[in-house]
C-alpha cells in the first residue's frame, strides 16, 4: 500500500520529479512507515553513509521522569520549552501551556511531590481517535502531533485528552519560531521536540534544561531500543504511567510519584 502522500506525488508532481534539482530527494515507500530514500546531487556525492532523513522507523520515543529528583521550585523544563518553541504563558486561562509543573500532596500521608506533565504521547491516543479531520495524528515513531494544516479547531481532542496536554490558540500570534509554527484557531501541544529528534539531537529542550540544572530528573530516548539508557532504566527500576487504568500505554513514564 502506498500512502496517499506518495500517490499524490506521482500523479500530480511527476513533472517536478523529472526536473528535480540537485538537492532533491526521491522516496520510495516499501511499506507504511518504511521509506527508502535516495539522495541526489551533492548529498550523494558526500557519501553513502549520510544519516537517513526522516523519522526513525520502529522507534518509540519517550521520557522517563523521576519525581524524587524534581524540586518543587524548579521549572527549568517549562522555561526551556517556552523559549525553544515560542509559546508564552502569562497566567491567563487562555494562555498556552505545553508543559507544566504539578505539585502533588498525598491525601493520606501528606508527602508532597513535584513533577512536570506534558503530552504523554500515548500509544493509543484518545486525541487521535476523536479528531474529525485526522489533524491530530501519531507519527510512526510514536510522537503525537497536531497537523495545523488540517486542524479545524473543534477542540474535541482537548475534551478527549486525559492529561490536559493541549492548548487552544485564542488570539493571533506573530514572531513564531520557524521550527514550531503556531497560529490562531488551532490546537497545539508538546511536540516532544520533534524538530530536534529529526535533526538527530537525540534529546529534547526540557531534558537538556533539566540536565543542565544538575537535577537529572528527566531522561529521553527510544523505548524500543533495548540498548538505550531509557529502555535499560525502565527495565531496571519501577516506573508508572499516569491513568494506567485507561490502558493508553504512554510514552512518558514516571518514577517515585
Amino acid at each position: 500500500m502506498t500512502s496517499p502522500l506518495h500517490k499524490e506525488k506521482g500523479a500530480e508532481l511527476s513533472r517536478r520529479d523529472i526536473l528535480k534539482s540537485g538537492a532533491a530527494l526521491a522516496t520510495v515507500t516499501l511499506a507504511p512507515g518504511v521509506t527508502l530514500m535516495a539522495f541526489g546531487g551533492k548529498k550523494a556525492a558526500a557519501g553513502e553513509d549520510m544519516p537517513a532523513d526522516g523519522l526513525k522507523p520502529g522507534a518509540r520515543w519517550g521520557l522517563l521522569i523521576d519525581a524524587a529528583k524534581c524540586p518543587e521550585d524548579c521549572s527549568a523544563c517549562v522555561s526551556a520549552c517556552s523559549a525553544e518553541l515560542g509559546w508564552e504563558n502569562n497566567g491567563l486561562e487562555t494562555d498556552p501551556q505545553w508543559i507544566r509543573k504539578v505539585t502533588l500532596r498525598d491525601k493520606e500521608t501528606g508527602r508532597t511531590n513535584s513533577l512536570p506533565v506534558m503530552c504523554q504521547h500515548c500509544e493509543s491516543p484518545p486525541c487521535v481517535d476523536v479528531c474529525p479531520t485526522g489533524a491530530s495524528f501519531k507519527r510512526e515513531d510514536g510522537i503525537v502531533l497536531v497537523n495545523r494544516h488540517t486542524c479545524i479547531g473543534c477542540r474535541y481532542c482537548m475534551m478527549a485528552c486525559p492529561f490536559k496536554a493541549r492548548s487552544f490558540v485564542f488570539a493571533p500570534v506573530s514572531d513564531q519560531k520557524s521550527i514550531a509554527p503556531r497560529g490562531i484557531g488551532t490546537v497545539e501541544g508538546c511536540t516532544l521536540c520533534v524538530h530536534k529528534i529529526d535533526r538527530g539531537d537525540g534529546t529534547t529542550a526540557c531534558v537538556e534544561a533539566c540536565t543542565a540544572t544538575g537535577n537529572n530528573a528527566m531522561m529521553f530516548g527510544d523505548l524500543n531500543d533495548p540498548e538505550s539508557e531509557i529502555a535499560i532504566a525502565v527495565a531496571t527500576y519501577a516506573s508508572v504511567e499516569l491513568r494506567a487504568d485507561l490502558g493508553l500505554n504512554l510514552g512518558v513514564r514516571y518514577q517515585n510519584i
Binding site: D53, H149, S174, K177, T186
Partner: protein, 155 residues
C-alpha cells in the same frame, strides 16, 4: 486547484502581454541565493502544490530536507523594509511590498501560510538556508545589506 489556475493565468498574462503593458503587472522583487534550477515560471505556477506536498513530508514523515520549504521562501525572497530602529528588518507579510504579497494582492488570493508561520526570518533561519551568513548580528547585517543592494540594482 483554483490557486493553480489563477497563477497560471497570471503568468500567462505576463508572458503574452505587450511590452508597454508591463507596468500593469507587479514587479516581483529579486531574491538572494541560487536561482531555482527549474526556472521561475515553474515555481510561480507550482509553488502552492510544491509547498503543500513537501510540508506533508515534513509534518507527517519527518523528512526535513525538502526543496520547497516556507523558511526558504521567506529567507531568499525577503524584501528589506524602511529602516526601523537600530536593527533593520525585512517587511512582513502585512506589507504590500512583501514578495509574496506583491503577486498575491495582484491576483487577489489570500495567503494562509502566515497565520501560523513567521513571514520574517530569524538569524538562525537565514544562516540555515544561506550558509554564507552567520547566525549572529554580523551575519544579519550582511544579509540586510545584500537585500538592500539587490533592490537598488536595476531590474
Amino acid at each position: 486547484m483554483k490557486n493553480l489556475l489563477t497563477s497560471l493565468l497570471a503568468v500567462l498574462a505576463l508572458a503574452i502581454a505587450p511590452a508597454h503593458a508591463q507596468e500593469l503587472f507587479p514587479s516581483i522583487p529579486k531574491a538572494l541565493g541560487e536561482p531555482h534550477p527549474e526556472g521561475n515560471e515553474y515555481w510561480r505556477i507550482n509553488h502552492p502544490a510544491l509547498l503543500a506536498h513537501d510540508r506533508d513530508l515534513v509534518v507527517l514523515e519527518g523528512i526535513r530536507d525538502v526543496d520547497a520549504s516556507l523558511v526558504g521562501c521567506v529567507v531568499c525572497h525577503a524584501v528589506n523594509g524602511p529602516d526601523q530602529g537600530p536593527v533593520p528588518m525585512p517587511v512582513d507579510a502585512g506589507s504590500p511590498d512583501n514578495s509574496c504579497q506583491v503577486c498575491h494582492q495582484f491576483v487577489a488570493i489570500e495567503i494562509g501560510c502566515f497565520v501560523c508561520h513567521a513571514s520574517v526570518p530569524s538569524k538562525e533561519d537565514v544562516a540555515m538556508i544561506l550558509p554564507q551568513y552567520s547566525a549572529d548580528d554580523e551575519g544579519w547585517r550582511d544579509y540586510m545589506e545584500d537585500l538592500a543592494a539587490l533592490q537598488e540594482a536595476p531590474q
